[in-house]
Every structure is written in C-alpha cells, then in structure tokens.
C-alpha cells in the first residue's frame, strides 16, 4: 500500500521541527499541520519519539545507500557529517533530549559503514585476516565518531569537525601498518 498519510505526518513533523524545538511540538500540532485525525497519528506511530526514530533511520539508510562506494577517508567523513548537517535543526533540538542514544547510534553506524567501505579498497588484494580488518574498522571508525561527537557537543559551530584532515591522514597509515605486521607474523 502506498500510504501517503504516513509520509505526510513525517513531512509535517520535519516542517514543525524547523520552526520550533522538539519539546514544543505536540501530536496535536502535527495532526493539525497535515489535516488528519489524531488517531491516525497513533495508528502509524507509537508516539513522537517513535516518529523521530523512523525519520532518522530512514535518512541514515538513504545516506548509506547513496554512497555504495567510499574511495577516500575524507569522503567517508563527509558522508557521516552530512547526516548531522542534513538534520541540523533536528539534531540541534534532539541532541540533548530524548533520542540522544539513537542519534549517536546512527552516527556511529554511518562511521562504521564508510570506514568499512573505505577499507575494502585499502585492503584489496592484501593478505590480512578478517580479525585484523575488524580491528582496523573499529579503531578508525571510533576515532571518526569521536570527532563528530565533539563537534555535535560543541554546537556544530564550525562547518565540519575540527582536526578532520589530520586525523584522516593519520588513519590512512593504519591499513599499511596492519598489512606490514601481518607479514611479520
């Protein structure tokens, strides 16, 4: 089924989110914005946090799918921060409220995704165990996530997270490091 109502609810919610903070948006506001019955809202969503979660999940999925290949770490970082930028107003309101965990979870997932994609290229043809690859993924994605985490907490004042270039440069050395160590064993 097509279900345009659900779509309309999401659109109305995003529209309201650009007008006022999450804490001031009521279910009533949403249903009045898109001209539906209040029960129709509850038919589709448990509550506002559930609506929020679905929107953020969707946007993250979409962003992930739109970059099937990541050929540089900088590009990966760009994708991950794009997620926050795209939802800037929402992030601003959400970040210190209900769904902080959820939001971080998706940002982390995005970081992991882009790093995995990047390392697929970096480790291509290299004789390295999956375990070693996993360590690299965890290490690099964690540090990228850390950058974004700080950036969000500082209010996203700079256009991009600080030190992004230097950290990326450093991280690029890691695959080589692992390949080397792998050969010495």
């Amino acid at each position: 089924m097509a279900n345009f109502t659900k779509k309309a609810i999401k659109e109305s919610f995003v529209k309201l989110l650009n007008e006022k903070p999450l804490s001031k948006i009521s279910v009533k506001d949403i249903v009045e914005e898109c001209g539906i019955n209040r029960n129709s809202f509850y038919y589709h969503f448990q509550d506002i946090p559930a609506l929020l979660e679905e929107i953020i999940t969707e946007q993250a999925e979409e962003l992930i799918n739109s970059y099937p290949e990541i050929d540089s770490l900088e590009k990966g970082m760009e994708v991950a921060t794009d997620f926050a930028i795209k939802n800037k107003m929402a992030v601003y309101h959400i970040y210190n409220s209900v769904n902080r965990d959820m939001y971080e979870q998706y940002t982390m997932r995005l970081c992991r995704h882009v790093v995995t994609r990047y390392l697929e290229v970096a480790f291509k043809d290299a004789d390295v165990s999956q375990d070693d690859k996993d360590v690299a993924i965890r290490l690099i994605s964690s540090s990228l996530f850390g950058l974004i985490y700080d950036w969000l907490n500082s209010g996203m004042n700079e256009e991009r997270p600080a030190d992004i270039k230097r950290v990326c440069e450093l991280c690029k050395g890691i695959p080589e490091l692992i390949i080397e160590r792998s050969h010495n064993n």
Copy 2:
C-alpha cells in the same frame, strides 16, 4: 478527510502531462507513477477526463480566490492569462482534444470574474442600473476572452495575447461611456 491518495493521483497526472501528450497517458501509467492500485483510481475518479476536469477546476478556483480585488483591467487580464500559462503544457495537449469546451468555459469564467471585480471599482458610487453594468461586463469580458482564445489557437507563441494593451485601454473607456449615457436618459 485529508485524502492524500487523491492528491497524489493529481500530482502524478500533472507530472505525466509534462512528459507526454494526454492521449498517451493511460490509467495504468498514472497508478504506476504513484504506486497505487488501479481500483483506487476509479474509486476517486470516473475516468481521466474527470480527473482533468477536477484539476483544472481547482486551479481556476485557486487563481480566482487569490485575487479578491482587481484594480486594473491589465491586472485582470494577467490573472486570466496566468491560468493558461500555469497550465501551459497541459493546455497545449488538452486544447485540441477532449476538454476543449471545459477549458474555454473556465477561461471565460475567469475573464468574467476579473472584469466584474474591476468594474466594481469603476462603477463605484456611479448611478448605473445593474442591467447596464451587466452589459459592460459581457462586452469587456467577451473581448478579453477573444484575445486569449486567439492566443491559445496560435499556440501561445507570444508571452501574452497580442494587442492586450490597446484593447484594455479601449475597454477602460466603456464604463465612462455607460455612466454618461445613463445620465442622459
């Protein structure tokens, strides 16, 4: 009720109308474009001409409502031609097909509307019978409609109907003419 499906059908149809001529648009195309069941189309509309009629009616209504006051004949003419311009692609395909009559009817209605609004100002405080006013409305709106009619038939090549300024200038003298004649009786 909100009914986003009906809205989606209209949007899909307009989208298709900008891609290919009316004659090549099937109900199947429309329902596939907006991802609904074929029967849902027939639930809302009798057939494609009915859909077309509803869209054109809506646009005409909307245009009329967006100009509650017409203070010059040129402005009125602008409103009436806007209707055609706004629907240019649609008009292009429709004009020589099924709904020619309907389209002309709405254009005529728009002309009549804007002229009536304009004359409300022109005849303000003037001691003229309703009959005389009606004659003026019929005369002026018919000639404006004639301009648009020719413009449509010639393919809307110029941005606006030809001779629009001179005809408007001429028409402006008519209220005075009627007021004068009315006093001599």
